[in-house]
Symmetry: C2
Subunit: 127 residues, 2 copies
């Protein structure tokens, strides 16, 4: 569990990282406070399942960053990684039921961006 408490007054874990405070904003940023995590969630929500397909998105995520974010989302219980039965050399990434909650956050961010940042538009498939 991200930000699970380990004891009153003690440092808490967030996927192995320390919790900065009990503030929900700080804890949420401990999970998604970077430039890439919610873009990976966006691509999962758009139906991307294979590692290579994420690399095609317009932001051109680097392979090491993508590996790191998928692994982190998996460790936090937001993403599952399974063998693709149609091609067993490949992995299939899916949002878990818990991970579906990240779509809410992603939608909030999209709504805010559309309203406040000029000339933004949702990617095809996200409308």
């Amino acid at each position: 569990m991200p930000c699970e408490k380990q004891g009153k007054g003690m440092a808490q874990t967030n996927g192995g990282e320390s919790r900065r405070s009990d503030c929900p904003i700080a804890c949420a940023l401990d999970i998604v406070g970077d430039k890439w995590t919610l873009l990976v969630v966006r691509d999962l929500a758009l139906g991307k399942r294979h590692f290579e397909s994420f690399l095609d998105s317009p932001e051109r995520i680097a392979t090491n960053v993508l590996s790191d974010r998928l692994r982190r989302l998996e460790n936090l219980g937001f993403v599952s990684k399974n063998v693709d039965q149609s091609d067993k050399r490949k992995s299939l990434y899916l949002l878990t039921p818990r991970g579906q909650e990240l779509r809410t956050l992603m939608r909030y961010l999209a709504r805010w961006g559309l309203k406040n940042i000029p000339e933004t538009e949702l990617l095809d498939g996200a409308r």
Copy 2:
């Protein structure tokens, strides 16, 4: 203007940084996709005005990070910096009308964190 376009098909600026795509999520993350910016916005929303007072928050932001985020928010038009008339050696930081929009985003994040991360609670003054 963050993410203002400079020309069709050209790289766009976001406070001097390049825009990764027109996706509102990517553009929003270009502004707030780090662990500290929205915590500074939280503190501004809670009424903090002086540099030193941000340092007292439970997350213990480092002075160089705080300087950077305040300068960046000022450059993006979200924060104004003025001389404190009651002590002219000090600066007063305030959210601009444009910066008030960041409170919406901060509230979204707080709502999500409260719902999805165990044992989170709003700081005193934010209830």
